[in-house]
Every structure is written in structure tokens, then in C-alpha cells.
């Protein structure tokens, strides 16, 4: 078990809290730069960001199952009652 550390003035826990926001580009420029600095010096946080990024990518690529045809017919019929 590695210890959490302070890199670029940020504790790993703070970086963890902001990771999704960072990934989605929703942090202020200042904040994003500080997080990037921490990431550059902290392999554990960098790895977590890479992995979360991969998880988001794969969920975005889940196939969009179409509505089963029998459900579609049932739906339209029942809405016309």
C-alpha cells in the first residue's frame, strides 16, 4: 500500500475528489493546471485517471440496443387505447 502524498501543493485525496470533473473539462483553468501538475508527479493518481478515462470510454461505447419490435408494436397499440 502506497501512502497518499502531497504533490504540487495538492493532496491525493483532493485530486481524487476532482478527477471526474477534470476528465469532463469542468474545472477552472487554474484548478485544472494544478491537478495536471499533481498528476505529472504522482503515478497513483495518474493511473487512476487513466483507468477512469478507460471506464468512461467503454461505457460510452456500449451498444445502443434498439427497442425490441414486439415492444414497439405493443407500445403504440396501448397508447391508442
Amino acid at each position: 500500500m502506497q501512502d497518499e502524498q502531497i504533490v504540487a501543493g495538492l493532496h491525493c485525496g483532493e485530486v481524487l475528489a476532482d478527477l471526474s470533473e477534470h476528465l469532463d473539462g469542468r474545472l477552472s483553468l487554474d484548478r485544472a493546471e494544478r491537478i495536471d501538475e499533481h498528476l505529472a508527479g504522482c503515478a497513483e493518481c495518474r493511473r487512476l485517471l487513466d483507468e477512469v478515462t478507460a471506464a468512461v470510454r467503454v461505457v460510452r461505447q456500449l451498444p445502443e440496443e434498439p427497442l425490441p419490435p414486439e415492444v414497439e408494436e405493443l407500445l403504440i397499440e396501448s397508447l391508442h387505447d
Binding site: Q2, G13, E21, L75
Partner: protein, 186 residues
């Protein structure tokens, strides 16, 4: 089958539905039924409920058409009606997540010093997604599959923006933990 004309906006269709035009209603249904169904399957706490949620959602949409106020897509509005339908059918089923962010991150391998592979194969991702709690599937569906903004997802779920953001972050960490678990077991 009525061919959909994307040039007719949702807003126009909803206006016609409010005026009692049944063909406009059919078009709105066909345009959004797959997304509402996907959301219902993801967010409902029990399996097998999605078709009824879908039906009730569109019935609610027809009733509420005259009260709809929106300049853009009807998608978030329809999904919020689906959310209300789920709440009505399963009152009190929404859970409050008390797991700390650190616990979730550690379950996903953070600070473990180990490189666990993320299983990115289609079936593994589908299984990992299906095994998540409905709250996680809901927020991932809204934000990462339907690409709703945080604002829109907040409107759908009735949660404050900040809660949407933390919920999304937690859901992503839990999904990651599942994907790595799957890779380890396989």
C-alpha cells in the same frame, strides 16, 4: 410506420400534441422510445418493468404536453417523466450512498501500487454495467450515454447539480472496480 422528419422540432411536435394531434404524438414516441426504454431499463430497481414505465411515461407526456416549456430537445423532459414514473412505481427505492470516495477509489485499485487490467471487452463491460446499483446505472446512462449536461441530469433526477457530479464520479469509480474485478477473475 410514419417516417420521422428531423426538421420538425420536438417543440413543434409537443405543441401539436397539446392541440390534440395524434400523429404528432406517434412521431414523438417513435423518436424517443428507444432512449426512454434504455433509461427505464437502467434506472428501474427491478427487472422487467421497463415496458410499463415506457408506456406510463408517454401517457404522462401526452397529458403534460401543454405544460411543457423548453426550446430544445424533449429528451431530458421525457426522461424526467420516466424518473417520476419509476418513483411512483417504486417509492423510497432510491438509495443514499454513504461509501467514502476513498473506499470506492481503493476498491478500484487506487493507491494499491498494482496495475490491474481493465477488461474492455463488450460482454465484460455489459456485465459490469448490469451489476451496478440502479442509481449508478441511471447517472451513467444520463451523463455518459445520453450525453446530458449536468444541468439536464439534475432536472431529470431532481437532484442538485453538486449531487449529480458526485454521483457520476462515484458511479464511474464503481464501474471501474467492477471492470478490474472481472479482468482479475477472468
Amino acid at each position: 410506420m410514419i417516417a420521422d422528419d428531423a426538421r420538425v422540432s420536438d417543440e413543434t411536435l409537443i405543441g401539436r400534441i397539446a392541440a390534440g394531434d395524434p400523429s404528432a404524438f406517434d412521431r414523438l414516441v417513435r423518436r424517443h422510445q428507444a432512449a426512454v426504454y434504455r433509461f427505464a431499463r437502467a434506472a428501474a430497481p427491478v427487472d422487467g418493468d421497463a415496458v410499463e414505465i415506457l408506456r406510463e411515461t408517454f401517457l404522462a407526456a401526452r397529458r403534460a404536453a401543454s405544460r411543457h416549456r423548453d426550446e430544445t430537445s424533449a429528451r431530458p423532459w421525457l426522461l424526467s417523466l420516466a424518473r417520476q414514473t419509476i418513483d411512483r412505481r417504486h417509492p423510497g427505492s432510491r438509495e443514499t450512498d454513504l461509501t467514502s470516495l476513498r473506499e470506492l477509489a481503493r476498491a478500484a485499485g487506487w493507491q494499491s501500487g498494482e496495475d490491474g487490467a481493465v477488461d474492455e471487452s463488450g460482454p465484460a463491460v455489459e456485465a459490469a454495467f448490469a451489476a451496478l446499483p440502479p442509481e449508478d446505472r441511471e447517472i451513467l446512462t444520463l451523463c455518459d450515454r445520453e450525453y446530458l449536461t449536468v444541468d439536464e441530469a439534475a432536472r431529470v433526477t431532481g437532484l442538485p447539480d453538486a449531487a449529480v457530479r458526485t454521483r457520476l464520479h462515484r458511479a464511474r469509480l464503481r464501474l471501474l472496480a467492477r471492470l478490474k474485478e472481472g479482468a482479475g477473475a477472468g
